[in-house]
C-alpha cells in the first residue's frame, strides 16, 4: 500500500465482523476559500481516504471579461487592463500586448526603451519567482524561506516602483516606448523623465541580495531530505503530455524541454546577453522548483549585463496623438514568469481592436490538473498545485 489510508483500514476491520458497509467516496471540496489555492480556485475532489479518485477544478470566480472589455477600449487603455491579468508579474503582461500593437503600427521602439523594458521584465520575473520560492516551501510546511524571500522581493518591488510608480500594476509601457514616472529629481527639472537617479546602482545592490537569498533558501530547503521526499517523483509531467496541454514556461522546462521564448522570439533584445535556459530531467515538482531557482539566477545575470550595456537615447518613438492601428492580425507571445503569454490581436483599422485573444500561461498550466492529480494523495494535491505556480487572475482573465 503506497498511501496510508485510515478509513480503509477501519472498513476492513468492520467487514470482518460481517457488517456489510457501504463505503462511498467522500467528496472533498477544496476552495474557493482555502489557504493554498492561490486565490479563488475550487477543486471538487472525490477522495477515497486520502487518495484522489477524481478531481475537477472549478474556475471562473475571478473572470473579469478582459477579452470583451478590450473590444471597447483604446490600445493605450488596454495596457492598464492587461497588467492585472497575472498580478504578480504585471509588467510582463504589458510587454507582449504593446509589442503586438507596435508591430501592427510599424513603430520602431528606441533601444533605451527596449532595455528598460527588458530590465523591468526580468526584475518582475525575479519577484514572481521569489514569491514562488516563498510560497512553495510554506505549502509544504516550511515557513522560514517565505520570510527570507519576501524580504528581498521587497527590494526588487521598491525598485520597480521607483521607476514606474506602481509595485504590481505599473501601466508603464506606451506604444512606442516607456514612460517613467520619476524624473531625474528636483535638480534636473529640465531633463526629461528617465530612470530615477541611482537606479542602476541600487539595482546592482538588490541583485546581490537576491543571489544571497537564493543561496539561503538553497541551504534551507533544496537539500532537505523531507523536501525531497515530498517533491521528488511527485506530480511527474512527461514532456509530450505537457506540450499537448500547452503547459509552458518553467513547468515545461522542468519536464526536460529546454525551450524558452526569450531565445526564439525577438520581442526584447535578449540576444544581446549571455545566459542559459535551465531545464529539469524528471518533470516532477522538485525539477520545477529547481528550474525556477536557476531562472532567478539567470535573470539576475541578465539584469546585471543589461544595466552595464544600457544605451542612451530617447525613450519613445514618434507616435500619432490619436492611435489608430492599421488593419491586420498578429500574435505575439512572450516568456512570462508563468509561461507563454500571448495576445492575438485582430485590428480593423480603428482606435479599438476588433478582437483580442489573451493566451495566458496559468490557464493552460492548470488545465493539466485533472489528469495530473488522478491517484495522488491529498497532501500531494497541495505539493503539485504549488509547483505549477499559477495565479488565478491569469487563469480566469
Amino acid at each position: 500500500m503506497t498511501g496510508f489510508d485510515p478509513t480503509l483500514a477501519m472498513h476492513h476491520s468492520e467487514t470482518q465482523v460481517s457488517v456489510e458497509l457501504q463505503t462511498p467516496d467522500m467528496t472533498l471540496n477544496l476552495g474557493p476559500q482555502h489557504p493554498s489555492t492561490h486565490g479563488v480556485l475550487r477543486l471538487v475532489a472525490k477522495v477515497d481516504g486520502e487518495k484522489v479518485e477524481e478531481i475537477e477544478p472549478v474556475i471562473g470566480y475571478m473572470h473579469r471579461g478582459y477579452e470583451k472589455l478590450a473590444e471597447v477600449r483604446t490600445y493605450p487603455q488596454i495596457t492598464a487592463l492587461v497588467n492585472r491579468i497575472d498580478w504578480v508579474s504585471g509588467f510582463c503582461n504589458e510587454i507582449a500586448f504593446v509589442t503586438a500593437a507596435e508591430r501592427l503600427m510599424g513603430l520602431e521602439v528606441p533601444g533605451r526603451a527596449q532595455y528598460i523594458r527588458l530590465i523591468l521584465t526580468e526584475m518582475t520575473r525575479i519577484s514572481s519567482h521569489l514569491l514562488f520560492l516563498s510560497s512553495y516551501p510554506l505549502e509544504l510546511g516550511a515557513a522560514t524561506p517565505m520570510m527570507l524571500a519576501v524580504r528581498d522581493r521587497e527590494r526588487v518591488l521598491d525598485l520597480i516602483e521607483g521607476v514606474t510608480g506602481g509595485r504590481f500594476h505599473p501601466n508603464f509601457n506606451r506604444l512606442g516606448g516607456v514612460k517613467p514616472a520619476a524624473g531625474g529629481g528636483a535638480t534636473q527639472k529640465k531633463l526629461a523623465q528617465d530612470l530615477p537617479a541611482g537606479f542602476l546602482q541600487d539595482t546592482r545592490d538588490a541583485m546581490v541580495h537576491v543571489l544571497g537569498v537564493c543561496d539561503e533558501i538553497d541551504g534551507l530547503i533544496t537539500g532537505n531530505e523531507i523536501f525531497w521526499e515530498r517533491t521528488r517523483g511527485v506530480g511527474v509531467i512527461p514532456a509530450d503530455k505537457a506540450m499537448e496541454f500547452g503547459v509552458s514556461g518553467p513547468n515545461l522546462r522542468g519536464s526536460g524541454v529546454r525551450f524558452d521564448l526569450r531565445k526564439v522570439e525577438d520581442y526584447l533584445p535578449y540576444g544581446d546577453f549571455d545566459w542559459e535556459v535551465p531545464a529539469g530531467t524528471e518533470g516532477d515538482c522538485y525539477d520545477r522548483y529547481l528550474v525556477r531557482m536557476e531562472e532567478v539566477r539567470q535573470s539576475v545575470s541578465i539584469v546585471l549585463q543589461a544595466i552595464d550595456k544600457i544605451p542612451s537615447g530617447p525613450l519613445q518613438a514618434k507616435v500619432p496623438r490619436v492611435i489608430k492601428v492599421p488593419t491586420g492580425e498578429i500574435y505575439v507571445r512572450a516568456e512570462n514568469p508563468k509561461g507563454e503569454m500571448g495576445y492575438h490581436i485582430v485590428s480593423q483599422g480603428g482606435r479599438v481592436p476588433y478582437r483580442v485573444k489573451i493566451r495566458s500561461a496559468s490557464y493552460s498550466n492548470l488545465s493539466i490538473l485533472p489528469w495530473l492529480l488522478k491517484g495522488a494523495l491529498v497532501p500531494d494535491i497541495i505539493a503539485i498545485m504549488g509547483s505549477l505556480d499559477f495565479v488565478l487572475g491569469d487563469v480566469d482573465r
Partner: protein, 205 residues
C-alpha cells in the same frame, strides 16, 4: 487573407526563429490549405472546417505544443466596439488554433470558418487533450458547438447565464447603463500626426 503575400516583414532585431513565411508556406502545402499568410511575423493557414481534425492530426507530428484555441466573431451586427471593416466577410465565426514546436520556434495559427447560423466544428480533444478547456470556453463565449467533446459544459460562466458574451451582438451591460465617455474624449482631441505630449524632447540620460 490574401493569397501568399510576401509582406513577412520581420521586425528589427535578429530573429532566431525560422522565417514565418517559410513556415506558413511549408505547412500550407502539407495540409493542402486554402490560403496562407505571414503578416507581421504571424504564420497562418486557412483550412476548410470539414478537414479540421484531419489537419490538426497531420500538424501534431510537427507542432506538438498546443497553445490555444479561440474564435473571432465576424458579424455585421455589433452591439459594442468597432464594426468590422467594410470589405470583411461577415456572418461567420473564425475558429483559430495556435500550434507550436518547442525546439526551433516554429509556430502556426490554423484558421477555419464556420457559418454563424450553424456554428459547429469537430472537437480536437482526441488530437490535443489540452483543447478541452479551450473548446469549453469558446462554446460558452461564442456559442460554437464542438462535436465529439466529452464534456461540453460551461467553464467560466455560472450555470444560469444566458447568451454568449464574446459575440459582437452581446451588449456590455455597463455600457447600456451608462454610455462610456471614452470615445468622446478621444474624439475631442485634434486629429493628425501632431507631436505627442507624451513624447517630450530628449528623454535621455
Amino acid at each position: 487573407m490574401t493569397e501568399s503575400p510576401s509582406e513577412a516583414a520581420a521586425p528589427a532585431g535578429a530573429a532566431a526563429r525560422p522565417d514565418p513565411a517559410a513556415v506558413a508556406e511549408r505547412f500550407a502545402a502539407m495540409v493542402d490549405a486554402a490560403s496562407w499568410s505571414a503578416e507581421h511575423g504571424t504564420a497562418k493557414v486557412v483550412v476548410p472546417a470539414e478537414r479540421w481534425v484531419e489537419v490538426h492530426r497531420t500538424l501534431r507530428e510537427h507542432l506538438p505544443f498546443f497553445s490555444w484555441l479561440s474564435a473571432v466573431d465576424w458579424s455585421a451586427e455589433v452591439a459594442v466596439g468597432d464594426p468590422p471593416a467594410e470589405d470583411a466577410v461577415t456572418g461567420r465565426f473564425e475558429v483559430l488554433t495556435r500550434l507550436a514546436d518547442t525546439d526551433e520556434g516554429k509556430a502556426l495559427v490554423v484558421s477555419a470558418d464556420v457559418p454563424a447560423g450553424e456554428a459547429t466544428i469537430a472537437s480536437l480533444v482526441e488530437v490535443y487533450g489540452g483543447a478541452a478547456w479551450h473548446e469549453r470556453e469558446a462554446y460558452e463565449m461564442f456559442g460554437i458547438g464542438f462535436e465529439g467533446h466529452p464534456n461540453l459544459v460551461k467553464l467560466y460562466l455560472p450555470d444560469g447565464f444566458e447568451g454568449n458574451p464574446l459575440r459582437k451582438s452581446f451588449p456590455l451591460l455597463a455600457r447600456e447603463v451608462k454610455p462610456w465617455p471614452g470615445t468622446v474624449d478621444v474624439e475631442g482631441m485634434p486629429e493628425g500626426d501632431g507631436p505627442s505630449t507624451e513624447n517630450p524632447e530628449g528623454g535621455a540620460a
